[in-house]
């Protein structure tokens, strides 16, 4: 137990993980209710291209990934609005492109190596101090913005037209949610890796939504589930030498399943 709190790298992982998990869960609630829960999955694949490009150009992969993910997220949004494509079609097109470009670039950069695998499968226990601070800062900004626009985001998700008539600039806030999602996915990548980041966005939020009878509960429950998954996931990973990313996601899935069953059970009785 002591080691968990003594070793700097563990504390760093814990700190960053908790902040990022909360921002994932917060956005996850809105994305699920906006019927947009696949966006995390799509953006993760695009993030792969960003990372590969960073490795190829030998610039900070995290920074390149951020730029690419935000640009792609806005592209998907515009494609949905303007071209009349169904949301999941736009995501499918962009995400396969991301993966394809990523594979080509990674091969050209001859970087199918430990580095890339770290990004793919998550490597939070190896997170660097600078990345910790960047993650915490960005995640804090995400959380702050969600709290600032809490009622507006809730309104436009619930009843878009009435929200417009109440003066909410739904178009602008759509862009904001899209950008926040892209940033969160890239941060989540540092915690659980590209392949599992969409789980961190969707599963804790879905679990929270199982039991919530109002929006505040949904937001708080989802965040709590995300934090618990990261906390105990890291704990188990450290002591039993499990991979952290997989453990975190499996834990959140177990919590989801428990709530799911609890809800059906309640309804029967």
């Amino acid at each position: 137990m002591d080691a968990f709190f003594v070793y700097g790298f563990l504390q760093r992982a814990l700190f960053a993980g908790i902040f990022v998990a909360v921002s994932c869960a917060l956005l996850g609630v809105f994305l699920i209710l906006r019927r947009d829960s696949m966006i995390g999955h799509g953006l993760a694949h695009i993030t792969f291209a960003g990372v590969a490009l960073g490795l190829f150009l030998k610039i900070v992969p995290l920074g390149v990934a951020l730029v690419i993910a935000v640009a792609a997220a806005l592209g998907i949004m515009k494609l949905k609005e303007k071209a009349g494509l169904y949301g999941d079609t736009a995501i499918a097109i962009f995400s396969s492109m991301g993966l394809a470009v990523g594979i080509v670039l990674a091969t050209l950069a001859q970087s199918f190596n430990v580095d890339l695998f770290g990004y793919l499968f998550g490597d939070i226990l190896a997170i660097e101090t600078s990345e910790v601070w960047l993650s915490i800062a960005l995640a804090a900004v995400v959380v702050f913005i969600v709290i600032l626009h809490y009622h507006r985001f809730m309104y436009m998700t619930f009843d878009r037209e009435a929200a417009k008539v109440s003066g909410i600039k739904v178009g602008r806030l759509d862009v904001l949610i899209t950008v926040l999602t892209a940033v969160t996915v890239v941060l989540g990548m540092k915690v659980v890796g590209i392949l599992l980041v969409s789980a961190l966005v969707v599963i804790p939020a879905a679990a929270g939504l199982q039991l919530a009878s109002n929006f505040k509960q949904a937001i708080i429950l989802s965040s709590l589930i995300a934090v618990i998954s990261v906390l105990f996931g890291l704990f188990l990973a450290y002591y039993f030498d499990f991979p952290a990313s997989g453990t975190i996601v499996i834990l959140s899935f177990l919590i989801f399943s428990f709530f799911f069953i609890l809800k059906r059970f309640r309804r029967i009785h």
Binding site: L33, H151, F158, D159, S166, S213
Partner: protein
């Protein structure tokens, strides 16, 4: 045309509005004004463009021709939306699983334009309670919106529309699915909002009984504006006679 409102400045100004869905003409050159203090009923058969007209006035749809102004400003430039309340036509678009309590649904409107987190929590509660009381729903304030009946949901959306004490209230068939007792209560409430607090009301309705009892202005729509003017004149007009002659496809009688 608009005799009763000749001296008061128009709150809403609808100028030559036309609207098409592709080749289908929905609105044809509609022009009229709504003055402060009016209680206007918009009537007309299904598909006559009533909802479309209101959505254009509120800036939710762009007209093919013409322009709508609110408080003198083109609707695209209008900013002061807390002065406007809106109850959309029967809220079938609502997600029945959405995790929001009644209180939260009303709070969304109340806090939509708050710059920072919130005003005083206490004031907030009072405004929400008051709005819910006016539609007899305060007992349900902690219920999930999806767990209410359609009529109860409609009452909540009415509470949401009045929580900011708007200057003008748009209601698209607000009492569809609301029981008779609540309807009476609701129209009495609209009357007092209109007469005592001077709130302008624009209401789409199929209920001619209500038109007779409460409103002072009538707009009769059927692609074109067939009639617009005071309620007294409306009863003498050809449009009204046509409507009665045409029977129930135009408007329904209430007992």
């Amino acid at each position: 045309m608009d005799s009763s409102a000749a001296d008061s400045k128009p709150l809403i100004d609808v100028k030559n509005i036309s609207f098409n869905y592709g080749p289908v003409e929905v609105l044809k050159d509609v022009t009229f004004t709504i003055s402060s203090g009016d209680f206007l009923a918009i009537i007309g058969p299904n598909g006559s463009g009533k909802t479309t007209l209101i959505k254009i006035i509120l800036g939710l749809m762009k007209p093919s021709h013409g322009e709508a102004r609110i408080l003198g400003k083109p609707v695209e430039e209008f900013e002061d939306w807390s002065k406007v309340g809106y109850v959309p036509q029967k809220a079938t678009h609502i997600d029945p699983l959405f995790p929001a309590s009644i209180k939260e649904v009303v709070a969304m409107e109340l806090l939509a334009s708050r710059r920072f987190l919130r005003m005083k929590k206490r004031e907030e509660e009072v405004s929400i309670e008051k709005a819910l009381k006016q539609v007899n729903m305060e007992r349900f304030k902690n219920w999930r919106i999806g767990s209410l009946s359609g009529g109860q949901q409609q009452r909540v959306f009415i509470a949401r529309a009045i929580v900011n004490q708007p200057h003008i209230l748009f209601l698209d068939e607000p009492t569809t699915g609301v029981d008779t007792e609540t309807q009476e209560h609701f129209y009495d409430m609209l009357d007092s909002l209109n007469k005592e607090e001077g709130i302008t009301i624009v209401m789409i309705t199929h209920d001619i009984g209500i038109v007779n009892k409460h409103v002072n202005q009538v707009a009769c729509l059927n692609q074109k504006l067939v009639y617009h003017g005071s309620h007294e004149e409306f009863c003498q007009s050809q449009a009204f006679k046509d409507m009665l002659a045409g029977g129930h496809h135009l408007v329904s009688h209430r007992h």
